[in-house]
């Protein structure tokens, strides 16, 4: 029965140590942020942070996380009180269906912790394993740049 610390709270988890974190977060802790997209480590929809590093929760057995802090998108803010990065996504309308977005937010969050003012190329590079099917890429880039304090010059004027 591993202990699991998520968003600052420690839970005694009933799941077997082999259970991928994703299922523990969603099924046992009732968190919606991390999404099942492929379960194969190919899409990034399930991205969370472990000790500040972006990690794919669908392939991370919960047993390896004993004593290591996990942050999900819920840990950055709530729909009512979004954190700065989430606020940037809202301000840029950076979601269509939004299914990929929590993973994008978490990977961008890990990037900004390591590189507070990334270049556009660094953002694209960091996000390249996260897939988005709606084509929200330009909005997501704008949101990450906005959060990084840069101007949202990635797309041009609306009219």
């Amino acid at each position: 029965m591993p202990n699991l610390t998520v968003n600052g709270r420690t839970h005694a988890v009933a799941a077997e140590p082999e259970t991928p974190l994703l299922y523990v977060l969603r099924d046992e802790l009732g968190l919606n942020g991390a999404k099942f997209g492929c379960g194969l480590g190919q899409c990034g929809a399930c991205t969370v942070e472990v000790e500040g590093r972006a990690v794919l929760s669908c392939l991370t057995p919960v047993g390896v996380l004993e004593g290591r802090a996990v942050t999900t998108v819920e840990g950055l803010g709530s729909p009512e009180h979004p954190g700065p990065l989430q606020a940037a996504f809202i301000a840029e309308n950076a979601a269509q269906c939004g299914y990929c977005i929590a993973g994008m937010v978490m990977r961008a969050h890990a990037l900004l912790r390591a590189v507070p003012h990334p270049s556009e190329a660094e953002i694209r590079d960091a996000l390249r394993f996260n897939l988005c099917r709606c084509g929200t890429h330009m909005r997501i880039l704008a949101a990450v740049k906005r959060a990084a304090g840069a101007s949202s010059a990635v797309t041009g004027a609306l009219r």
Binding site: Q42, G98, A102, T136
Partner: protein, 729 residues
């Protein structure tokens, strides 16, 4: 009623309980979906507390429809958007608006809601006028109240009881003057995004009902295979497994916890024995196979038949498109609960009413004992696995009454079993007259169906696998003017003599259905590529050549706007090229012109979209962000389709079973700049814009590749190896 049902109703507003379903009638003269649901209270309801609820039969698919519909209603009712509640597709509560598809939501639903809200406003002011003894014209409606010039106010709640919302929307209602808009036309932030970026309950996957069980399906390794044996005892005995369910070749496992269902599914897959399968042509033979299949020809357009065939230079070309997939980022999911009498299904499919019909047939239950409620899923872009998952959940819920059953497909299942966008072939031929204008035009599109959705239980995947299977209904061609495979096959251009034919192929080796824009993607690719080929033959500039064949001023306006904003005609460095394309979606929805710049790497054949400039006229703009995002997303998605995507297959069936075998665009592939210019037409009807970018993107890319590398690509996708082969060493 279970907790789950109550929860969902609370989302819709508790006040709705007890109000009967809206009457269905036909009123041909009314705009939008009012034709099917003419009553005001089909669309707008006011509670005793004055709270206003808007109902739509359309579903939020990530296109931002919730926000736009709220804006439209808020504008007419003089309310703050945040004070409105919106209920989307629910067979018990909302009007039947069929599918949320074909870029119809604004045209159908927003138009209906606008008129219903205006009618509601008129009733409110009339009632307030009676109460205040003032002529209704002297009253204003704002902030949830009717106000008199003398400052007296009556809140909606005070007058709502006195008005009859079960009246029909009048044919000649008074709408707000666009000049006075305060909500419509503004970039209201999307109402659904905060929950999506912060882990709110936003998706069907987030439903956690008390007592809910987790189901996983075990599918054959290839289409057409049958289950010939399964030793399921050991799996059924696993701790946490509730049962293994088998009906013919439909095999599933139910478990208390989600991960237990996952591991049980894997164990079950190992003991299932399958046999047979449907043969598929080898990739190299795909187009020969398609060309050789029996087809039913219909002539969908003919012009200038009386005039003699003109003399001139004849140009001809054939274009091809491989199978492509929806590839939703979230595999399909559904929840269903059967209480022994009534079935409730939560689904992210595009049509709750047709789904209900299909489930009624599948389960032999009367329709009025089934309720289908739309809950958002991952973007679908057409008919993906959502209906199938709903069918599976319904089958399993019936097998386990009293407990909500959640079905979640795996990535591999979604990839292998979703109905793809069909392979297509087009043949274009034209005569350039001595004036370098098109004097004659011949075009034929050979296509499978683009619609195998419910109703019809046989459209549900598992229904075909049952012990007593429901056969798939015979495929149908969708009629013009919207068309299916022939959507946008008739050019909008002025063509004195023209013939356009649709060769409908009923029989296809792979399962196909609606993929965003249907045949329009391929037809616009073909026509707009061919226009460039003709312009080249005529020695004309592609943009000028298009304008020379166009009368529609709105079409001309988007073309001119895209060209000038792009800087059309300026020289580009070596290895770069600019391309242009235009279409009016279905020839009756939004207009879109697109100019792109690409870079082609000659050594590898790799193409990169460097920048894109779109100009779009979608009629009156309700939310500019909403349209812009649809166009941006459409361009990036169609770029991915056009440059990278083809369903892999061999003789055994599809080999594209995950993202490793079906690569799509990634962040390094998206353009440096992507600008969308909207031409707002206040007061004009809404024109659906959700699919308009698909075709122009494909053609603009092909046209740009031609100019960057000197080669003409006539096959989608234009993968690096194809581009390289055209370039040569």
């Amino acid at each position: 009623m279970t907790a789950l049902t109550r929860r969902t109703l609370l989302v819709g507003g508790a006040l709705l309980v007890g109000i009967g379903p809206p009457r269905r009638a036909l009123a041909a003269s009314l705009p939008g979906s009012l034709k099917e649901a003419p009553r005001i209270d089909a669309w707008i309801r006011i509670g005793e507390d004055g709270a206003v609820t808007v109902l739509t039969g359309k579903a939020e698919l990530g296109q931002g429809i919730k926000t736009a519909l709220i804006q439209v209603a808020a504008e007419e009712l003089g309310l703050a958007p945040a004070s409105l509640r919106l209920v989307t597709a629910d067979t018990e509560l909302t009007p039947n608006e069929g599918y949320t598809a074909g870029s119809h939501s604004m045209q159908d639903s927003a138009t209906a809601i606008r008129h219903a809200a205006a009618a509601c406003r008129a009733l409110l002011t009339a009632a307030a006028g009676r109460r205040l003894s003032l002529p209704p014209e002297s009253l204003t409606v704002a902030e949830g109240a009717v106000a008199a010039p003398d400052g007296r106010r009556l809140a909606f709640g005070e007058i709502a009881a006195g008005i009859e919302l079960d009246a029909d929307v009048p044919a000649e209602g008074r709408l707000r003057d666009p000049a006075t808009y305060t909500v419509v036309g503004r970039p209201l932030p999307r109402v659904d995004i905060p929950a999506k970026v912060a882990g709110g309950a936003a998706y069907i996957q987030d439903i956690r009902a008390p007592g809910m069980v987790h189901a996983r399906i075990v599918r054959p390794p290839r289409p057409g295979a049958r289950l010939v044996g399964v030793e399921a005892e050991a799996v059924a005995a696993r701790p946490g497994t509730i049962r293994v369910h088998r009906d013919g070749s439909f095999l599933a496992v139910l478990a208390e916890r989600e991960y237990a269902a996952v591991t049980a599914m894997r164990a079950l897959a190992r003991v299932a024995v399958w046999q047979g399968g449907t043969p598929v042509p080898e990739p190299d033979a795909l187009f020969a196979d398609l060309a050789g299949r029996a087809a039913k020809r219909s002539l969908i357009h003919e012009a200038g038949t009386g005039t003699p065939a003109p003399a001139g230079r004849r140009v001809a070309a054939q274009y091809r498109r491989r199978y492509q997939m929806h590839g939703s980022i979230g595999p399909s999911c559904a929840v269903a609960e059967f209480d022994g009498d009534r079935l409730t299904v939560w689904s992210h499919a595009q049509g709750m009413f047709p789904l209900r019909q299909a489930l009624a047939e599948l389960l032999a239950l009367p329709e009025d004992r089934i309720r289908c409620i739309h809950v958002e899923g991952s973007g679908c872009y057409g008919h993906n696995g959502a209906d199938d998952a709903a069918g599976d959940a319904a089958l399993l819920a019936r097998a386990l009454p009293g407990r909500p059953v959640r079905v979640q497909y795996t990535r591999e299942q979604e990839h292998l079993w979703e109905p793809y966008g069909g392979a297509m072939l087009t043949d274009a031929s034209a005569v350039l007259g001595p004036d370098d204008r098109i004097a004659d035009w011949d075009y034929a599109v050979r296509s499978p169906t683009h619609l195998t959705r419910p109703p019809g239980a046989g459209q549900l995947l598992s229904a075909r696998m049952l012990e007593k299977p429901f056969p798939a209904p015979p495929p149908k061609a969708l009629p013009q003017p919207e068309g299916g495979g022939d959507r946008n096959a008739i050019p909008l251009y002025r063509l004195p003599r023209a013939r356009v034919a649709h060769d409908f192929v009923a029989d296809m080796p792979l399962r196909v259905s609606a993929l965003r824009s249907l045949g329009a993607y391929m037809n616009v690719f073909s026509i707009e590529s061919f226009f460039d080929e003709l312009a080249e033959e005529a020695g004309a500039d592609p943009v000028a050549f298009r304008l020379a064949h166009l009368d529609d001023p709105r079409a001309r306006a988007v073309i001119e706007a895209a060209a000038s904003r792009f800087g059309w005609g300026t020289a580009l460095p070596r290895g770069r090229g600019a391309g242009f394309a235009f279409a009016r979606y279905k020839n009756l929805a939004a207009y879109c012109a697109l100019a792109v710049e690409v870079a082609v790497e000659r050594e590898s054949g790799r193409v990169r979209l460097v920048r894109a400039q779109a100009a779009v006229d979608a009629g009156e703009v309700v939310n500019p962000h909403g349209i812009r995002d649809q166009i941006e997303g459409g361009i990036i998605q169609a770029m991915s389709w056009s440059l990278f995507e083809a369903v892999g297959h061999d003789a055994e069936g599809p080999t594209s079973r995950d993202w490793s075998t079906y690569p799509i665009a990634r962040f390094p592939d998206v353009p440096d700049r992507l600008d969308v210019h909207l031409i707002d037409r206040p007061g004009q009807p809404f024109l659906g814009a959700g699919e308009v970018a698909q075709g122009p993107t494909a053609a603009a890319l092909a046209n740009a590749i031609r100019r960057a590398a000197g080669v003409r690509l006539r096959e989608l996708p234009m993968r690096p190896e194809l581009v390289k082969a055209a370039i040569g060493v």
